[in-house]
């Protein structure tokens, strides 16, 4: 190079730096050298991010949803097992922080079109249902109330007769608890003896009798004791011990749930609020998840809604959960933990519904790098046989990993009610103290459908 420069200086009348403007350098068809990027196999942060990027591209490029799910859950590492039905104290706060969920007490307001009125003895019970403390503009609460008188003119079919539905529910209850000759319940298996069969009977007969009014139910699929699984990453931690000690890893969670009953439908339920709404705050917990207590295990990373991807009924409608004997109310009252009773219902609702809606979203091809473009809505009823609590969940975002959560303003929303008894006591073939409000709410849940139908 020095010799070249010297030769240039010697030539008269030409200065070395005023080269003639190089004629448009015949732009090389391809760059001469490959792009300079981080290595794939080195033990460096740049290499790690490049590996992550390659993984994301592979998943994006997957041809089918099954292939995407397979790649998503291919790498197995120890992960926290999250149990929806848990006795852990204040579990619902922790679960909300893991799933970025906002809890809104009370049921969401229904638009008049989507909520057909039910013929009751007095119209007051309907207005009594709608307004409940909510973090939304009060205008919303009034609009449904005023415009609700509605439908009598529009609907050709008469309303569901609450008396008839009440008698169906009472019959189911009486058959299971009184009329059928059963042996004594097995030890600690009280729930399988009476409340389990009662719930199955109730839901199947109600769904059948309401199917005439709700065409979505007529095309639905009822699963008994299905399996619902979901696997996700949230947050970062440093590996504590083992050959991978010191590396920064995402915190992995897996929910394996077995609802008692679930209804799946071929069309999605309508969104309750727009995708970007902000209805509250997500609790932030500074402790490690293992303090809840939550334990780690390494096994297959499953994402499953209750049936495989090929099933046409790929959206969820309602789940029904039965609380086991271990979590019954009397036990909490005896241990002087009355406030934890509601926590049990809430944590069950939030965790199960998050797993279900997120798995539904994954079945449609969304994942944490490709966030959902429309909200996924599902409902759930958690009961211990007598007390019923209702939940409605809207999944707005799947992006919960440490990289994707930074610029993500969306939050998932869960509407929850407190648990109320359906009846007081069953005596001598009579149901005493039947609560119509709970039944009405259950009926409204089952009648929920997209606006077009």
């Amino acid at each position: 190079m020095a010799a070249l420069g010297a030769r240039r200086v010697l030539r008269p009348g030409r200065r070395w730096f005023s080269e003639t403007v190089p004629a448009a350098p015949s732009a090389p068809a391809s760059p001469l050298y490959p792009p300079v990027v981080a290595s794939i196999t080195a033990k460096s942060k740049a290499a790690k991010s490049r590996r992550l990027q390659r993984f994301n591209e592979r998943v994006h490029a997957a041809a089918t949803v099954e292939e995407k799910l397979r790649l998503y859950g291919k790498l197995q590492r120890p992960k926290y097992m999250v149990y929806p039905q848990t006795f852990a104290l204040n579990a619902d706060l922790w679960y909300r922080s893991f799933t970025k969920t906002v809890l809104v007490p009370g049921m969401p307001p229904r638009t008049p079109a989507a909520k057909p009125p039910v013929a009751t003895a007095g119209a007051t019970s309907e207005t009594g249902r709608a307004p409940e403390p909510r973090a939304e503009a009060p205008g919303d609460a009034e609009a449904p109330g005023a415009a609700k008188i509605p439908e009598p003119s529009a609907g050709a079919a008469p309303y569901p007769d609450i008396g008839e539905l009440r008698s169906l529910a009472c019959d189911a209850l009486l058959q299971e608890s009184f009329y059928q000759n059963k042996k004594r319940p097995f030890l600690y298996r009280d729930q399988d003896h009476t409340p389990g069969p009662f719930l199955t009977q109730l839901v199947s007969t109600l769904a059948a009798s309401l199917s005439g009014r709700n065409p979505l139910l007529a095309a639905s699929s009822l699963d008994l004791n299905p399996e619902v699984n979901y696997y996700w990453h949230h947050g970062k931690e440093v590996v504590v011990h083992g050959h991978r000690k010191g590396r920064v890893d995402p915190v992995r969670f897996q929910i394996d749930d077995n609802p008692h009953l679930q209804i799946r439908v071929p069309k999605q339920l309508p969104e309750v609020v727009p995708l970007e709404s902000d209805l509250g705050d997500v609790p932030v917990i500074d402790h490690k998840p293992s303090k809840l207590p939550l334990f780690k295990k390494q096994y297959e990373n499953k994402v499953f809604i209750g049936s495989k991807v090929a099933d046409p009924c790929c959206y969820g409608h309602t789940q029904f959960h039965l609380l086991p004997d271990k979590l019954k109310r009397e036990r909490f009252i005896k241990e002087r933990l009355e406030d934890q009773i509601e926590v049990v219902y809430r944590s069950n609702g939030i965790a199960s519904l998050f797993a279900w809606t997120a798995a539904q979203a994954m079945y449609q091809g969304f994942w944490n790098e490709a966030d959902v473009t429309r909200p996924f809505v599902s409902q759930a009823v958690v009961t211990d046989g007598k007390y019923f609590a209702f939940f409605c969940y809207q999944l707005n975002t799947l992006a919960l990993t440490a990289e994707t959560i930074e610029n993500n303003p969306r939050k998932n929303i869960c509407w929850a009610t407190d648990s109320k008894p359906l009846y007081d006591v069953v005596e001598n073939g009579n149901v005493k103290g039947f609560n119509d409000e709970v039944l009405l709410r259950l009926v409204h849940f089952l009648l929920n459908r997209p606006k077009e139908l």
Binding site: Q180, A218, D223
Partner: protein, 311 residues
């Protein structure tokens, strides 16, 4: 030893008729039911039970047999949108039945868990006409001389001759409508063979009908004015056996007189095969994944038996 249904016929004093009764055939042929769309749904339900239900590759019989039954019942129940009187039915699982009767000085009884029972508020109207019932007087029951008809039956000392329908008095859904038997053991030797299953169905249907008749008309043996009809469906997940049993008389001691009637439609396949993973031999797909050979007629019979009595 020999086909079980013949033995069961002798024990219950029954005459066998092949095929389903004309009333049920009439429901099947009724075009107003809209059975075409239901076929599509039935196919989906079969696929769900056999292929899609589990996160593993293929579900086992213990899982897919009850699941298939639940799915089919779900489709049938959804018909109550069209026929509101169908909602007067209630399913009862694990119900116990006990019925005792005498047959030529041998005391017989049927006891135990009789599968899944569907009850209804209204009884099924008698399927056979009065002439057919009187015709059965001429029918001679098959005997198996020299083999005693009680061969292979367990001899037990009973201290109480019990007749129990399984429910208390005052139960609103007091008429047994259909019994369902699911052979869902994984191992083939634990399952009943089709013929044994038919015999079991016959015995339990008879037991339910007899207990109901004794509850209605008392314990005296006599010819019933209003015959009691009980249906029965048995399956192992693929083969279906349909049966309609009509109890005409509780006078079972002698071999003469009016006999009971049973219509049996046996060995109906709902589908030929269900492949979870396509079978590939020498790089060529010989059997594609999915349900093949779906027979809509079997589902129509299932639905017709379900709707019988209200339509």
């Amino acid at each position: 030893v020999f086909p079980g249904v013949r033995q069961a016929q002798w024990l219950t004093k029954t005459k066998l008729v092949e095929g389903l009764p004309p009333a049920v055939q009439g429901i099947m042929d009724n075009p107003a039911l809209g059975l075409q769309e239901l076929e599509e749904r039935a196919k989906h339900m079969v696929s769900h039970a056999r292929l899609w239900d589990t996160a593993e590759v293929a579900p086992r019989r213990e899982r897919y047999c009850p699941m298939l039954f639940e799915n089919l019942i779900h489709i049938c129940r959804l018909m109550s949108g069209k026929y509101p009187s169908l909602s007067k039915r209630m399913l009862a699982r694990n119900c116990r039945i006990a019925a005792t009767w005498e047959r030529e000085s041998i005391l017989l009884q049927v006891r135990g868990l009789s599968g899944i029972l569907m009850n209804s508020k209204t009884p099924i109207p008698p399927v056979a006409s009065k002439e057919e019932i009187l015709d059965t007087k001429e029918h001679v029951l098959e005997t198996f001389y020299p083999i005693a008809p009680t061969i292979d039956l367990q001899e037990v000392n009973v201290y109480k001759e019990l007749n129990d329908t399984g429910f208390r008095d005052g139960y609103p859904y007091s008429h047994p409508h259909t019994l369902f038997f699911l052979e869902s053991a994984n191992v083939r030797t634990d399952r009943f063979r089709p013929d044994q299953l038919r015999a079991k169905m016959l015995m339990f249907a008879f037991g339910n009908a007899l207990a109901k008749a004794k509850a209605l008309h008392g314990n005296d043996p006599k010819v019933l004015e209003q015959p009691v009809v009980v249906q029965s469906i048995g399956t192992d997940g693929q083969l279906f056996q349909f049966m309609v049993f009509q109890l005409n008389t509780t006078d079972l001691v002698s071999n003469d007189g009016v006999k009971n009637l049973v219509w049996i439609d046996s060995d109906q396949n709902l589908y030929e095969r269900a492949q979870c993973v396509p079978e590939v031999k020498k790089r060529v797909v010989t059997k594609p994944a999915g349900i093949s050979g779906f027979q809509p007629d079997t589902f129509k019979k299932f639905l017709a038996l379900y709707l019988h009595g209200t339509v």
